[in-house]
């Protein structure tokens, strides 16, 4: 499945890139993420809980960063597996400076999922994916704002609060209800944005921070 999209971060490109290289940010922005660790430079392992409708379970996986051109672009590759199935993906991310001092992130990639996650969870994936993207970016927006504020005041501690899994679940439920009212185009976009793709992509993006 192909996924693609853009997001505008309200801050300069260097700060956005740096944020992504802060390992604390990722785990908090990614619902279900339990652990992320660097195996070696640009290579990581992660554990996370995945819940897509009736399918849930622990995943372990790994990912690699390639073609890292700071602060411009990178390629993410990796996959994970667990009782609910497996996922594999590859994605390209670009950060573009914009005139109003914001950063445009463009991402595109291809992901495939298998096992119960695909055969049973498939029908829920659209809504879960949508929620994942939205809450993930919302969290990152907050994280970025907190970082920029801290930078201004010179404070060391960066304050921001990540959503809990329960909050995330609530968001998913809300999105599922809302889905009925979405336009055909929105739905079409969602159909090509499976959750796991996004999990991985976000994980990769965020994880690129670790280094």
């Amino acid at each position: 499945m192909k996924i693609e999209g853009t997001h505008v971060f309200n801050g300069p490109r260097e700060d956005v890139w740096d944020m992504f290289y802060d390992p604390n940010v990722l785990a908090s922005a990614l619902p279900g993420a339990q652990k992320m660790e660097m195996v070696k430079e640009d290579e990581y392992k992660f554990d996370m809980n995945v819940r897509v409708g009736p399918v849930s379970g622990a995943f372990t996986g790994e990912m690699q960063l390639e073609n890292v051109v700071k602060p411009d672009s990178l390629t993410l590759k990796g996959g994970g597996k667990g009782a609910p199935g497996f996922l594999n993906g590859i994605g390209n991310v670009k950060f573009k400076e914009q005139e109003d001092n914001t950063t445009l992130m463009e991402y595109e990639g291809e992901v495939n999922i298998g096992g119960a996650l695909a055969s049973v969870g498939q029908r829920m994936i659209d809504s879960v994916a949508k929620s994942m993207i939205r809450t993930g970016f919302e969290t990152l927006d907050k994280a970025l704002a907190a970082r920029l504020a801290a930078k201004e005041t010179g404070a060391e501690a960066v304050e921001f609060k990540a959503p809990t899994e329960a909050q995330f679940a609530k968001e998913v439920a809300k999105d599922m209800v809302k889905m009925e009212n979405w336009s055909a185009e929105t739905k079409l976009v969602l159909y090509i944005v499976p959750v796991i793709a996004v999990i991985i992509l976000l994980a990769f993006i965020l994880k690129s921070c670790g280094a």
Partner: protein, 782 residues
């Protein structure tokens, strides 16, 4: 002779048992000390296996054993080829690749078994599946029928040159000649879609190895107990009488339960013998979707050549048939397609070619309809397209080409799934068409009702199509009829019953000869310990083949009873009558002997017997027809479509059907109802969908839409035509698949009619509401 028990709607003998919770289905079988199996299945569609780590699973409390292909050692081998290759068809190519019931070295479809866990409970066995780790290398997935033969396509079986599974060509007359003479040739690419058997009960097996008597007892939901018995015996090195396969009550079959050579009947018996413990495995619904078989995936390039007046000169049909990752069931399905394309019409020139391909999908074997509905769909769609081109009414083109009654029996010249020429044995095809048109009031609808509705902006369409149903194919079945010392009668066979009512209809056939109450006839079906030979429940052949064998056996038993009674009553046979459980002198009814007493006397314990005497009031018989009997019929539908929501209401459904003699008309109607339900599902609700990576994304009833009560029309209007088959003494033809065969073709014709002028041009056998919406928008130019 008492009243005939044939063609009467007796209430079913089996119902009180099934209605009160006293049925005995596979999961109801409990044996003390029984262990439970769960199967680890591959999440990947195509992959190389490096290693399967079962250590952690083995250590779990309650887990008794875990087996992979490696652990099977020398026992591991591909399952048997259930149906042999079509060598009778000259020049045919068939690459036999029977199922690898547990994957070794390579995974070829998602859902393929890779390990078996045996544990003290099903819960523990399923827990352990999560602790089996697969080290694999994913390979590129092959799913597209046509691209599977591309030169660069990844090979599913590396020892073959391509993914070609079979190539079979048949020609009657000359297609080239037809084209040369034709005024018009219409070409279409026609697609039929993947559907599941969908029995409400999943498959299952219980195995008990009796180590002291060296007997393997097997209870299985199989539609073919004898072939399963034979393959288990062969694999385990046992004699046939050491393996007893028994059918419990079976919760629906619909085709996929005919399939053996899977992990349950190849691997689990070996484990049960090794562990010397009874073992049960019952499939769950997701496994049933992923790992059990399915059908209907074909792509046809079809052409029809005609004269200006609509006379068919010839048909050409080259089609790709998806057999899945293996081809254990041979060519049954696509051969049925070949014989059913030409169905009800006079087609002097016919060329047909099967290109059967391997894909990384579940194995394809018959599902109710089994290739026939695809053939009918192709032919009827071609006729509709031709009618449109010629500006003819769809009924007119059918009337023009339909086979007349005097052409029966009609030899088609095409070899079918039974490896003999398909012959349409009897029937009044035009009669079925006219009967349907009359019942559905075709003329009135077209001329009066529809114009008014159109003026009101409503979209109601009518469809009428013809179909044949090749049934009751050979090679043979057999049965034994025995009168017991109590006077009750026992009928035994090794067929298989999944709800067809054989406990009643088989009893009716025996009762008709033996003059006993059908409630006093106990029918045993599917027990190889009681009856050793047979083939299995497929192709709507039970009533015809087993029924005829029972009839023939009962005639012999009747003769035996009369002969013996004649001696005892010292009266010529001709003066005796058999009725009400006794043989009596017709003119002296008070002088009689009961059947029970005769049964006792039929086994003399002192004295001498005449040469050639056969003891017991019993007889066995086998029956094998020269070729199948062909049912046929005509379906009419009126569909009311809401163009905004694409919701379709089936306003009327009329079916005319001829299945020869109806042994039990109530049961015949029930078979038609059930078939129609599957046909409606196939046309509008059910579809197995694989994603671009070979993941089945419809592996639950949340995504695989099962047709429900409100999806059906208020009434199935059935019109019977009875042309007894000349092939068997009772004149029976099969009826199990009629409804499942005919719906998609008719449904699409009616949808096109509902949107006349928009030229929907539907060439796909499956039309979901979403797709219909898309078609309508496209036709509108939106």
């Amino acid at each position: 002779m008492t009243e005939s028990t044939i063609s009467k709607s007796y209430k079913r003998n089996e119902d009180p048992r099934l209605l009160t919770g006293n049925g005995n289905y596979i999961d109801d079988i409990e044996i003390p000390g029984m262990l439970h199996v769960a199967i680890k299945r591959s999440d990947y569609a195509h992959a190389k296996i490096n290693k399967i780590d079962t250590e952690e699973a083995k250590k779990m409390p309650g887990v008794v054993a875990v087996y992979t292909a490696e652990d099977l050692g020398d026992y591991w081998r591909p399952g048997p080829l259930q149906v042999p290759p079509p060598t009778v068809i000259k020049g045919s190519i068939f690459h036999a690749r029977p199922l690898e019931c547990i994957a070794k070295n390579k995974i070829r479809f998602s859902g393929e078994p890779v390990a078996v866990v045996v544990a003290e409970s099903r819960y523990i066995a399923e827990d352990a599946l999560d602790y089996i780790y697969l080290d694999i290398e994913p390979l590129e997935y092959v799913g597209d029928l046509e691209k599977s033969l591309d030169p660069g396509a990844p090979l599913i079986h590396e020892d073959l040159e391509s993914n070609l599974s079979a190539d079979v060509r048949q020609e009657v007359g000359s297609w080239e000649k037809a084209v040369a003479e034709a005024d018009l040739v219409v070409k279409k690419r026609i697609v039929t879609k993947h559907v599941a058997g969908g029995a409400i009960e999943n498959r299952g097996i219980v195995i008990q190895w009796d180590d002291s008597f060296k007997v393997l007892n097997v209870w299985a939901t199989t539609q073919g107990p004898v072939p399963m018995r034979n393959s288990i015996a062969k694999y385990l090195g046992l004699m046939e009488n050491q393996v007893r396969v028994m059918n419990p009550d079976i919760g629906g079959g619909f085709g996929p339960k005919i399939m053996s050579s899977q992990i349950d009947d190849v691997v689990i018996p070996w484990i049960a013998m090794k562990l010397k413990k009874p073992i049960k495995w019952v499939e769950d619904r997701r496994e049933n979707f992923l790992g059990t078989t399915s059908e209907r995936d074909q792509v046809h390039y079809a052409e029809i050549a005609l004269k200006k007046d609509g006379t068919i000169l010839g048909v050409k049909d080259e089609f790709y048939h998806n057999t899945g990752a293996y081809n254990p069931y041979g060519m049954t399905v696509p051969l049925n397609t070949q014989t059913h394309v030409i169905s009800n019409y006079n087609i002097p020139n016919y060329f047909t070619r099967i290109i059967m391909v391997f894909t990384n999908q579940m194995v394809v074997t018959p599902v109710r309809g089994a290739g026939r509905s695809h053939g009918i769909f192709v032919m009827e769609r071609l006729l509709d397209a031709a009618a449109k081109e010629l500006g003819m009414d769809p009924i007119e083109i059918r009337r023009k080409n339909i086979l007349p009654p005097e052409s029966m029996p009609f030899r088609t010249g095409v070899i079918g799934q039974d490896f003999v020429e398909s012959v349409l044995d009897s029937g009044d095809y035009p009669g079925a068409l006219e009967k349907t048109l009359e019942a559905i009031e075709y003329e009135k609808f077209k001329k009066e009702i529809q114009p008014k509705l159109r003026a009101e902006g409503k979209h109601k369409g009518i469809g009428v199509i013809m179909f044949t149903e090749g049934t009751a194919v050979g090679p043979y079945e057999g049965a034994k009829v025995m009168v017991g010392v109590t006077g009750k009668v026992n009928v035994v066979c090794a067929y298989s019953n999944q709800g067809q009512g054989h406990y009643t209809t088989f009893a009716q056939v025996a009762a008709n000869q033996l003059g006993v109450d059908i409630k006093d006839i106990e029918v045993v079906i599917g027990d190889t310990g009681q009856w050793q030979w047979g083939v299995g429940a497929f192709a709507s052949r039970g009533m015809t083949l087993v029924g005829t064998a029972i009839h023939n056996a009962a005639v012999k038993v009747r003769e035996k009873a009369l002969n013996l009674a004649s001696k005892i009553l010292e009266t010529p046979k001709e003066e005796l009558e058999l009725a009400d459980g006794v043989v009596r002198i017709a003119d002296l009814p008070e002088k009689f002997i009961s059947l029970g007493e005769l049964a006792m006397r039929a086994n003399p314990t002192r004295g001498t017997v005449e040469e050639g005497m056969e003891p017991g009031l019993e007889a066995a018989s086998y029956y094998g027809p020269p070729h199948g009997a062909t049912g046929y019929g005509c379906l009419g539908l009126i569909l009311d479509v809401d163009p905004e929501t694409a919701k379709v209401k089936i306003e009327r459904l009329v079916i005319a059907d001829d299945c020869g003699t109806n042994i039990n008309p109530m049961i015949v109607d029930g078979q038609i109802h059930g078939g129609l339900q599957m046909g409606i599902g196939e046309a509008f609700y059910e579809n197995l969908v694989y994603d671009d990576y070979g993941q089945l994304v419809t592996a639950s009833f949340m995504d695989y839409l099962f047709p429900q009560a409100t999806d059906m029309p208020a009434k199935f209007e059935i019109k019977h035509i009875v042309t007894p088959s000349p092939l068997n003494p009772l004149g029976i033809k099969g009826i199990g698949e009629a409804g499942a065969i005919c719906v998609p073709a008719c449904f699409m014709q009616a949808l096109e009619d509902a949107f006349e002028g928009m030229d929907l041009d539907i060439t796909d056998s499956f039309m979901s509401p979403g797709k219909l919406y898309h078609y309508v928008q496209k036709a509108k130019g939106a």
